[in-house]
Amino acid sequence: MRLLHTSDWHLGRQFHGHSLLADQRHMLEQLVAYATALRPDLVVVAGDIYDRAVPPPEAVDLLNEVLTRLVIGLQLPVVLIAGNHDSGERLGFGARLLQRAGLHIAGPAAHPVTAVPINTAAGRVCVYPLPYAEPGAVRARFAQADALGHGAAMQLSVQEVLRQHPADCMAVLVAHAFVVGGETSESERPLSVGGSGAIDASVFAGFDYVALGHLHRPQTLGGGRLRYAGSPLKYSQSEVTHAKSFSLVQLAVGSLPVIEALPVIPLHDLHVLTGTLAEVCAPRPEVASHDFVLARLTDPGALLDPMAALRRTYPNALGIERLVLQGSGTPGARGARREQTSPEGLYASFFEEVTGTPLQADQQAVLLEELDRLRYGSAGQDLPGRAR
């Protein structure tokens, strides 16, 4: 059986103030083209369809169009699950009605998991779409008394699925989670506040293939049966070095899945350029002029309107980072000031700074005397016959 695995579309996302909808549309066109040419048995989208719980209307329209072309136009079954960025209930509208057409959406966490059977020449495969659920929701659903971690919650859900799985089919799980050993990027929203929410790969033993979503780098884990398709576009600075792709997976009974990465060509590529302003503004062959550019400038001194200069070469430049200016500021003096916390030390540096001459030794002696008097109130000079 062949399936086309993708995830983390984040439709409607904004990047440094720019809307990425045009890039996402361009990317989805390629998905449709691959699907047309390769004719897989199933298309799987493993979560984070939208970027926010309430997405912008253009994103909704784009998803509508793409799914219609896949399901009605190409007659391909599509399985969709909600990720941690989506609102499961909103995404799952009309799920049972759409099921008849061949679009299987698993949105709300409170609904039980229903299998999607796919009949192929090689045999039957049962696909189980498991939407992302907060541990609190899983706990409520299974009526557990104690608080659950992400690992325990996933264990409960997986066990329920395996219980209803017949023995003569292959089992494929579609899930949205963070598995231990996976490489993260800046653009993933952490699953649990104050913790990583990581799950051990052994929870998924028992499935022939697990189509995962959430991490943005395409990667294979767990001895070859767990795969993150990764996000098809670069969504943050840390993803500049990733090679973005869709995954075409061939499953056969008794052997490991064979995974092929289908490359995705973005409309605007993302680059991070480091150097002085002059170096960065000079055109270079590997960066197209309309690409997104983030500049990290090493100029030590002040610059006049660097953003405008950058935009002359790269009209879609997104931002500037001044490496030197974020350091200690006026070098030396601030650090030195912080070291001296004693009053006499502070006064000495104050004196030097405001008068330009350092504090003399006899002046310092007098100062120390006065400070001692202030602190401990010792007797001063006593004159004879002075009335007390």
């Binding site: 953003m307 931002g319 000031r337 002046q363 007098v366």
Partner: protein, 1051 residues
């Protein structure tokens, strides 16, 4: 300051009593307060501010506005806040000034003044710390470290006013920072230095005054006059000392004379006294002699004592012996009486025993004879009962087995019916399978057809794009050619001009050889270098190449297109042919399929639609038939199980029958046994006589007999014992009597002897009778006193005689002195001496004071010198510290600026992250010569333009992020300074609505990261994104009777 529990009633929009417990949120939490407009979110912060400072957070709401209008008049407005500060826990409660219903007298309202109280927790109890509104506020201010304005700027970022700290002027910011960092020490250093410098000036003044005063005391104009005065005084002193020496000597002589005269007078006096004493002692001799006689008589009386005692003892013994005799006679009498009583008793008991015993024994023997048959009877009866029970149980089991058999038969019937159904299902199987297969084949064909069409579309598209590119490249090529021509022309012209310049008149031209040059070329136009020409040529070549490549590519694409077209046609033809020869199920659409080959190329859209439709229908049919097939297979599978069940049922039936027969046999055997037992029982009953037929009654009779026998024997034994004891007692009593009589006689004899001895002793001692003797007796103390008195008198006499002799010897031949004259002389001499001493002393004192003054003057001079140098140094330091320096910055302000820089650094880090590396905060550097009151103003550094701008130019959302970053940076830095106040709580009232989604994401991440720093952050916001992201929420609901506050916790 961390709030633990807040309770309020009739406050703001809350008509009833509400309470929030912050403890379940834990130490470090981010929680969201949300609710509809006017529900009371900001009022919760108001409540906290009011509880602490007696004033609401917004400042526009007055004290009297705090009461809820809708509240029950009986309910008082009150707020109570429990909070922790470090490890101490406090409780503060307040009520504002309000009107309440009068307790007596209906309908009237009386004003109640504001109250407040503050307690600290101590174990289980609360120790009160303050009890009045102003005092409570003061105390809270000193505990927390800031007043209410600073609280509003640092702990609570109020709605719409969060920029206050950001936009505050230097003076305000100075106050806040001073409060937070406790830098009053540095300010006090500044003041102290200034005071010290002033002090020094004053000291100098004092020295001068002092010096002139000292000169005045000696009336000297200056130092020289003073020295002269000192010298004069020294001389005077010496003279006066000499005078004094002489006067002392005179006095000593006079004293000595006086002393001698006094000694002689004393000796004469002593002699007189001794004579008088002697006479006194001699007068007492007579008395002493009388005492001696008394002493002798007493000693004689003592000798008689032993005899007296002996006589008394004998009398006592006699009396005792007589009493003993009387007692013994009484005892003998009593014993005799007892014996008389015991005898008749004994005779009576023996007679009764002899009568009764034989009859009792006879009865006993009879009963024993029938013991055995009775036992057997009892046993038999028991066995009969057991057997009857067993028979009943067997009956029951027999009935149960009947019922079981009937049930089994019914089940067998049901099985037979089931088997028939299964057979029908098996028959249908092959047919269904065949149908499924055929449908699937058709489905496959349709799919292939559609694929081919799609590929064709793609190829067509590619062809078009390629053609477009080709056109563009052709344009490029033409342009390149044009340029090449132009460039070559220019080059030629240039070359021509160059050659022309070398031309000279009458020399042949290099090109054509002519000697005349009518119109030489001139250098007009552009000079084209060789390299440029080469470059243009290269460009042209490249364009040509690209063009060619593109043409090739186009050809390839077109070829591909044609190939795919052919493939599509093939598929269509096959599909059409397949259909016409195909299944009866496809009769539904014959027209569409026959029309297909003709319209294939002309209307691709219709075709695709039709194919879609067909595919859908085929899929549906496949599903239906597959389901039927599965069901049939299931039934077929169950065939085998049905037969097995039937066999099992038959076997069970047989088993039950066997069990039933066995049971019947057992029943019969039991009945026979029962009969045998009953006959035996009857036999035994006949053997026993009627009166013993009842075994229980017989046993009872036996017991009674035995008892009676025992009673009779016991009575006899008792009577015999009594008689024996009485006899014994009588004999003992008699013996005692005889002994007592003998003792009496002995005692009488002894008494007579003692009397005689006494009379003899009296005569020896010289007394007439006992009376005389008794009067002469004296006790030991009196005797001793007498002896002592006699001895003392003797001693006194001897001493007095001795004394008189000595005194007489001492004053022999001495004359009497004249004491008065001697005393007068001594008195005068003393007076003279005293005067001289006094005068000398005066002079000395004068000299000493002058010396001290000289000393003081010296010291003053030394102090003055030291003061001079120090003054110079201290003056400079104090000046600089106060702000008199080229930068016009005072020391305190400098320290604050340092701390502010640190705060801004921390704040900028956060702000950079939240604003995508764009904004940072820094302090405005004061220009030299500017106003010293500045130096703590803030500005914003924009990375995109690399300039600094005032804070007021930030937009709403940017300003919010900056204020938030500043508050967080401030809290972080204050914590790290020891002695800094605790800033471990932060409340943010709105402001998130001003942020775009990306900035909101960054802001939320920053706040979530705060959890690691151990701070409690509360956010009030209506932004729905925050409700999805933050899992600890406090919902505030407006109106109604349901609870208004609900806390949801994560997990």
């Amino acid at each position: 300051m961390r709030p633990l529990h807040l309770s309020l009633q009739a406050f703001g929009p809350f008509a009833g009593a509400e309470a929030i417990d912050f403890a379940p949120l834990g130490g470090s939490a981010l929680f969201l307060i949300h609710g509809t407009t006017g529900a009371g979110k900001t009022s919760l912060l108001d409540a906290i501010c009011y509880a602490l400072y007696g004033d609401s957070s917004v400042g526009d709401r007055r004290d009297t506005d705090l009461r809820c209008d809708r509240a029950d008049p009986e309910l008082q407005t009150a707020v109570e806040l429990r909070f922790s500060l470090g490890s101490r826990v406090f409780r503060v409660s307040r009520t504002p000034r309000q009107w309440r219903a009068r307790k007596r007298g209906a309908g009237q309202l009386v004003e109640q003044a504001a109250t407040a109280s503050l307690d600290e927790q101590d174990g289980d109890k609360w120790t009160p710390l303050a009890g009045q509104p102003l005092k409570v506020t003061e105390r809270i201010q000193s505990l927390l470290g800031f007043n209410k304005d600073q609280f509003r700027q640092v702990i609570v970022l109020p709605q719409g006013r969060f920029r206050e700290l950001l936009a505050a002027g230097s003076a305000d910011r100075e106050k806040i920072l001073e409060q937070l960092f406790q830098t009053t020490f540095y300010r006090s250093i500044e003041t102290a230095l200034k005071l010290a410098a002033a002090e020094q000036g004053r000291q100098q003044e004092q020295i001068n005054t002092r010096r002139s005063t000292l000169f005045d005391t000696v009336q000297a104009a200056d130092q020289a006059a003073f020295d002269a005065a000192l010298l004069a005084q020294t001389q005077l002193c010496a003279e006066r000392n000499a005078l004094r020496e002489r006067a002392r000597q005179i006095r000593e002589a006079a004293d000595q004379a006086l002393q001698a005269g006094q000694a002689v007078a004393q000796l004469l006096q002593a002699d007189l006294q001794a004579q008088q004493a002697l006479v006194g002692v001699q007068a007492q001799v007579d008395r002493v002699q009388g005492q001696q006689a008394e002493l002798d008589a007493a000693q004689r009386a003592l000798h008689v004592q032993p005899a007296v005692q002996g006589a008394q003892q004998a009398g006592r013994t006699q009396l005792q012996a007589q009493a003993a005799l009387a007692r013994a006679e009484q005892a003998a009498l009593a014993a005799q009486e007892a014996m008389d009583r015991a005898h008749p008793e004994l005779t009576r008991a023996s007679e009764a025993a002899a009568q009764q015993l034989p009859a009792l024994e006879q009865q006993e023997n009879r009963i024993r004879a029938f013991a055995d048959p009775l036992k057997r009877m009892v046993e038999l009866q028991r066995q009969v009962e057991v057997l009857v029970e067993e028979q009943k149980v067997r009956e029951g089991r027999h009935d149960a087995m009947d019922a079981q058999r009937i049930a089994l038969q019914a089940q067998v019937q049901a099985e037979v019916l089931n088997g028939q159904q299964v057979e029908t299902a098996v028959a249908r199987l092959p047919d269904l399978r065949h149908r499924v297969h055929a449908l699937e084949q058709q489905l496959q064909q349709v799919r292939q057809q559609r694929e081919a069409q799609a590929a064709l579309l793609l190829a067509n598209a590619r062809v078009e794009t390629q053609q477009e590119r080709n056109r563009q490249l052709a344009l490029e090529l033409r342009r390149a050619e044009a340029e090449l021509e132009h460039t070559e022309a220019l080059w030629h012209a240039g070359q021509a001009a160059r050659l022309a310049s070398l031309l000279q008149a009458d020399t042949p031209c290099m090109v054509c050889g002519s000697a005349t040059h009518p119109a030489p070329a001139s250098a007009t136009g552009e000079w084209v270098a060789d390299q440029r020409l080469q470059a243009v040529r290269a460009g042209h070549r490249q364009a040509q190449q690209s063009s060619q490549q593109a043409a090739l590519a186009l050809q390839a694409a077109q070829a591909e297109c044609q190939r795919l077209q052919a493939l599509a046609d093939q598929h269509a033809g096959r599909a059409a042919g397949g259909v016409r020869a195909g299944d009866e199920d496809q009769r539904a659409q014959p027209e569409d399929q026959r029309a297909q080959p003709e319209h294939q190329r002309a209307q691709p859209e219709d075709q695709r639609a039709q194919l879609e439709l067909r595919q859908t229908r085929l899929q549906e049919d496949v599903l239906l038939v597959s389901n039927e097939l599965r069901r049939a297979e299931q039934l077929a599978g169950s065939q085998a199980t049905s037969a097995a069940r039937r066999a099992a049922l038959d076997q069970q039936h047989r088993q039950v029958q066997q069990q039933q027969t066995a049971l019947g046999e057992e029943r019969n055997a039991g009945a026979l046994q029962l009969q045998a037992l009953q006959t035996e029982l009857q036999l035994n009953r006949d053997q026993v006589p009627a009166e013993f037929a009842n075994p229980d009654h017989t046993r009872q009779v036996m017991r009674d007999l035995l008892e009676r026998k025992q009673q009779v024997s016991q009575a006899l034994a008792q009577a015999q014992a009594a008689e024996r004891t009485a006899a014994l007692a009588a004999t003992t009593a008699q013996g005692a009597c005889t002994q007592a009589k003998q003792q009496c006689a002995e005692a009488a004899q002894a008494a007579v002897d003692a009397e005689t001895a006494l009379k003899l002793a009296l005569a020896l001692a010289g007394f007439v009778d006992m009376e005389a003797r008794n009067s002469a007796v004296r006790d030991t103390a009196a005797l001793q006193a007498l002896e002592q008195a006699i001895g003392e008198h003797a001693k006194a006499l001897a001493a007095a005689e001795h004394q008189a002799e000595r005194a007489r010897a001492a004053c022999l031949g001495l004359p009497a002195p004249d004491l008065t004259a001697l005393q007068q002389a001594a008195g005068q001499a003393r007076q003279g001496d005293a005067d001289a001493v006094h005068a000398a002393g005066e002079a000395q004192a004068q000299l000493a004071s002058l010396a001290r003054t000289a000393q003081a003057l010296q010291e003053l001079a030394a102090t003055e010198a030291a003061l001079g140098t120090r003054h110079a140094l201290l003056g400079r330091i104090a000046e600089v510290a106060a702000g008199t320096n080229p930068r016009r910055m005072s020391f305190h302000r400098y320290v604050l600026a340092t701390m502010l820089d640190e705060v801004l650094e921390a704040a900028s880090q956060r702000l950079l992250r939240m604003s995508r590396n764009r904004f940072a905060l820094q302090r405005v550097q004061v220009a030299p010569g500017g106003n010293a009151a500045g130096g703590l103003d803030l500005e914003v550094l924009d990375a995109e333009s690399s300039t600094a701008r005032p804070v007021a130019t930030l937009s709403g959302g940017e300003g919010f992020l900056a204020a938030l970053a500043l508050a967080l940076g401030l809290a972080q830095v204050v914590q790290s300074y020891s002695g800094g106040v605790h800033l471990d709580t932060l409340f943010i009232d709105e402001g998130f609505g001003t942020l775009d989604p990306e900035s909101l994401d960054f802001a939320i991440r920053t706040l979530i990261d705060l959890r690691a720093e151990g701070r409690l952050v509360g956010i009030i916001s209506h932004v729905s994104e925050l409700r999805e992201r933050i899992d600890a929420r406090l919902e505030v609901r407006a109106g109604g009777t349901a609870p208004r506050l609900q806390l949801t916790l994560p997990g």
